[in-house]
C-alpha cells in the first residue's frame, strides 16, 4: 500500500503528547478545555500548536469543565468539528453536559485520561470516571497503549461524524501509566489522516446555517421525548458496524488492525482474564509465562465498551471454562464491577455458560503487576479443577 511507505515509526511520545499530536493532525475547528491532572498536558501541548499557528483551531480556555463541555456543545451545534480532553472530577463536572451532547447528537470527540474519583482525593489511574459516564450515550473506546490512544482518537472522529450515528465519542487511556509514559509509536502523515476523516460537513442543519433555521435541545414533552431517545438508542446499536468499518479502513492506511476487542492466545484457552486498557499489556506477559508452562490461558481485551458488543463477547468466551473479569472500578452493587456485569450478562444466552468471577484491582493507581495477574490465573485454574467458586466478587492487592 502506498500509504504504508509514508508511515513514520519509532517516534517516542507520551500518551498525552500522542493525543495532542493526533488533535493537531485532525485540526478541529474548536477546542475548549480546563486543566485537570493527568489530562492537562494534552490541552497544554495543543495550545502550543494553536499559539504557533500549526492549527486553525479556535481554542477557548474556560472557567470549568462544565463550561468546557458547554462550549464544545455550542460550537458543535454551530457546525464545527470539536474536540476536548479531561479526567476524573473534570468528567464528573461535565456530567450534565455529557447527556446534552449525546441527546443533541453532536459528534464531539473527547479524550478521557482515566483517573480515580474523590473522595479521598487521588490523582492516579482507575476507571471510575469513564465507567460512571457509561450510560451517558457516548461511544467509549479504550486504549492499551500510546499507539492505540493515537489510533483511537483518529478513528473516533470518523465514527462520531457518520451521518447515521452522530454520537459523541470518548477515547479512554490510563492516567500516568499511558498518558505520561513515553512509548515508540507509528504516526500517520497529515494528509493521510485528513483523507481518512474527510472534511467535516454537518449532516444536520447547524445554528449558523441561517438559511435553514433550526433549534437544538428544545422542550420535548411526553408526546415526543421518547422518540428522540429511541433514535439515540438506534444510533448506538448501528455504531457497532460503523466502528468495525472504520477500523477496516484504518488498517488500510496504518497496517494496524482493530476491532471490537483484542483476543490474545484465546484459541484453546481454558481460563481467560478480561481486562481493559494498560493492564492488558501486563496480563499478556502473564499469559505468556503460563503458556510456557503448558497452561492454557488467554486474554480478552475489550476495545469498545459502548456500544457493548455482547454477541461477540459471548462468542469469544463461549469455549472458556473459567473467566476472571478484572474491573478497575467498582459500581458498588455489592455484586461486581461494571465490566463484570456486562460480560456476565452477555454469557446468559449461551447453552453452556462458563464459570465467572470478578476481581476489583488497581483503584487509585494501586499497582497491578504480572504476579497479580498470575495469581488470578492460578485461582481460575483452581476453580476449573475444583469445579466451584469461593467468592464471585472480591478485591485483589488490598490490605484487609
Amino acid at each position: 500500500m502506498a500509504a504504508e511507505a509514508k508511515i513514520k515509526c519509532s517516534v517516542g511520545l507520551t500518551g498525552n503528547s500522542a493525543v495532542a499530536y493526533a488533535m493537531k493532525q485532525i485540526n478541529p475547528d474548536v477546542v475548549a478545555a480546563y486543566p485537570i491532572t493527568p489530562s492537562t498536558t494534552i490541552v497544554e501541548e495543543f495550545s502550543g500548536y494553536v499559539a504557533d499557528g500549526k492549527v486553525d483551531t479556535e481554542f477557548v480556555t474556560v472557567e470549568s469543565e462544565h463550561s468546557a463541555m458547554s462550549a464544545c456543545i455550542g460550537a458543535s451545534a454551530a457546525g464545527a468539528r470539536v474536540m476536548t480532553a479531561t479526567s476524573s472530577q473534570g468528567l464528573a463536572l461535565m456530567w450534565e453536559m455529557l447527556y446534552i451532547a449525546s441527546g443533541m447528537r453532536l459528534p464531539i470527540v473527547m479524550t478521557c485520561v482515566n483517573r480515580a474519583l474523590s473522595a479521598p482525593l487521588n490523582i492516579h489511574c482507575d476507571h471510575s470516571d469513564s465507567m460512571g459516564a457509561r450510560d451517558s450515550g457516548w461511544i467509549q473506546l479504550y486504549s492499551e497503549t500510546v499507539q492505540e490512544a493515537y489510533d483511537n482518537v483518529i478513528q473516533a472522529v470518523r465514527i462520531a461524524e457518520q451521518e447515521n450515528i452522530l454520537l459523541p465519542v470518548m477515547v479512554c487511556l490510563d492516567g500516568f501509566i499511558t498518558s505520561h509514559s513515553i512509548e515508540n509509536l507509528c504516526l500517520l502523515d497529515d494528509d493521510v489522516i485528513k483523507k481518512f476523516i474527510g472534511e467535516y460537513k454537518p449532516s444536520q442543519p447547524s445554528l449558523l446555517d441561517v438559511d435553514h433555521p433550526t433549534t437544538y435541545g428544545a422542550v420535548a414533552l411526553p408526546d415526543s421525548y421518547m422518540e428522540a431517545r429511541r433514535q439515540q438508542a438506534e444510533a448506538m446499536t448501528l455504531s457497532k458496524d460503523v466502528i468495525i468499518n472504520a477500523a477496516k479502513d484504518f488498517e488500510k492506511i496504518s497496517g494496524r488492525s482493530y476491532g471490537l476487542m483484542e483476543k490474545y492466545r484465546m484459541d484453546d484457552a481454558d481460563a481467560a482474564i478480561v481486562i481493559l486498557n494498560s493492564a492488558a499489556g501486563t496480563t499478556k506477559v502473564a499469559v505468556d509465562e503460563m503458556r510456557n508452562k503448558g497452561l492454557k490461558v488467554g486474554l480478552l481485551k475489550p476495545r469498545v465498551f459502548r456500544p457493548f458488543p455482547y454477541i461477540e463477547m459471548a462468542e469469544a468466551l463461549k469455549n472458556v471454562k473459567v473467566i476472571g473479569v478484572l474491573d478497575r472500578a467498582d459500581s458498588y452493587t455489592s455484586f461486581g464491577g461494571p465490566l463484570f456485569t456486562e460480560i456476565r450478562s452477555s454469557l446468559y444466552e449461551l447453552d453452556k455458560r462458563p464459570k465467572i468471577i470478578n476481581r476489583i484491582f488497581g483503584l487509585g493507581g494501586r499497582d497491578y503487576g504480572v504476579k497479580d495477574s498470575l495469581a488470578v490465573f492460578e485461582e481460575l485454574l483452581k476453580i476449573k479443577d475444583m469445579g466451584k467458586i469461593d467468592k464471585v466478587y472480591d478485591y485483589i492487592s488490598v490490605r484487609e
Partner: protein, 287 residues
C-alpha cells in the same frame, strides 16, 4: 442579638518566637509546595493570626477546594475539610449553617475561587455569612502546571497563553466588594507581619471577609515570565507592585499608578446571615 461587628476580644499582639507545632499535623510534613512558593509564609501568618484571636482550634473549621493553596488544611490540626475544585464555599456555607458557632476559614486560590468556583464566590459575598475567605492569588493554575487563570495579568505568559494572555482579569477585591462582602482586604506573602494582622482583622470581622493574598509561583509563572528567582518575583510583584493604603493616600496619583493597594480596602456593616436566619426562626415560631 447584636449586628455589630465583633469587638476584638484579645488585642492584636505580635508574638515571636512562635511555636507552630501545636497547630500542625506534623505527620503530614514535608509539604508539597515548591521552594520559593509563598504558600508556607501565608500558612504561618494564618496560624499566628489565629493564635492572636485566642479562639481554640476545635472551634475553628478550615475548608479548602482543589489546588496548591487548598493543600493548606491537610497540614493543619483543626477541623478541616478538603473538598472539590471550586466547591470550598458551598461546603463552608453548610458547615457554618449547621454549626454557626464555629469560625469558618476558607483557603482557596485564584483558579478555585474565581474561575470554577466563581459563582459560589459572588453568592457567598452577597449573603454575608460569617466566613473568612483567603484567596491565595498567584495568577496561575500552579498544581496543573501553569495554565492562565482569571487573575493572569494581560500579556503575561501561561501554558495556555504562550504569547501572553489577552483576557482581562478579575480584581478579587473589586469583585468581592461589588458582590457584597463586608470586609475586603489585600495582603502579600512578602509583607508577612502585615498579612498576619490583616488575617486577624478578617477573622474578627463578623460577616463575609475576603482576603486577596498576592503570592508567587516561581515554578511556573516565574519561569514563564522570566523572573530570575523567587525573591525577585516577591520584590517586583509583591513589594514594588503594591502600596499600603495608608501610604497611598499621601502619594501623588502618578506614584500610585499601576500599583495594587494593600490593607483593608472596604469595610461595612450588614446583618450576618446566620443571625438573620435565627431571627427569622424566632419570628416564625412566634417567640
Amino acid at each position: 442579638m447584636s449586628t455589630q461587628t465583633a469587638a476584638r476580644t484579645v488585642p492584636y499582639k505580635e508574638k515571636a518566637p512562635f511555636d507552630y507545632s501545636s497547630y500542625m499535623r506534623k505527620g503530614k510534613l514535608p509539604h508539597i509546595w515548591c521552594s520559593g512558593c509563598g504558600h508556607g509564609i501565608v500558612l504561618k501568618s494564618l496560624l499566628r493570626a489565629i493564635d492572636a484571636t485566642g479562639i481554640q482550634k476545635d472551634d475553628i473549621a478550615i475548608v479548602s477546594g482543589i489546588g496548591c493553596s487548598s493543600r493548606t488544611p491537610g497540614y493543619l490540626d483543626f477541623n478541616t475539610l478538603h473538598t472539590l475544585h471550586g466547591r470550598a464555599l458551598p461546603c463552608a456555607t453548610g458547615i457554618k449553617l449547621a454549626k454557626p458557632k464555629l469560625k469558618v476559614i476558607v483557603v482557596t486560590g485564584d483558579g478555585d475561587a474565581l474561575a470554577i468556583g466563581g459563582n459560589h464566590f459572588i453568592h457567598a459575598c452577597r449573603r454575608n455569612m460569617d466566613l473568612t475567605i483567603m484567596v491565595y492569588n498567584n495568577y496561575i493554575y500552579g498544581m496543573t502546571s501553569g495554565q492562565s487563570s482569571p487573575t493572569t495579568p494581560q500579556s503575561m505568559i501561561a501554558t495556555t497563553a504562550r504569547y501572553g494572555s489577552i483576557e482581562p482579569t478579575f480584581d478579587t477585591c473589586t469583585l468581592a466588594k461589588a458582590a457584597g462582602a463586608t470586609f475586603v482586604a489585600r495582603g502579600t506573602a512578602y509583607h508577612a507581619q502585615e498579612l498576619e494582622k490583616t488575617i486577624y482583622d478578617a477573622i474578627m470581622h463578623k460577616g463575609t471577609s475576603v482576603l486577596d493574598i498576592l503570592d508567587s509561583c516561581p515554578t511556573y509563572y516565574g519561569r514563564f515570565n522570566k523572573f530570575k528567582s523567587a525573591s525577585e518575583m516577591m520584590e517586583k510583584i509583591e513589594k514594588d507592585g503594591t502600596l499600603s493604603i495608608s501610604q497611598a493616600d499621601k502619594l501623588p496619583p502618578e506614584k500610585r499608578e499601576g500599583k495594587l493597594l494593600r490593607g483593608v480596602l472596604h469595610k461595612s456593616e450588614r446583618p450576618e446571615y446566620c443571625e438573620e436566619y435565627e431571627r427569622l426562626m424566632e419570628k416564625a415560631q412566634g417567640k
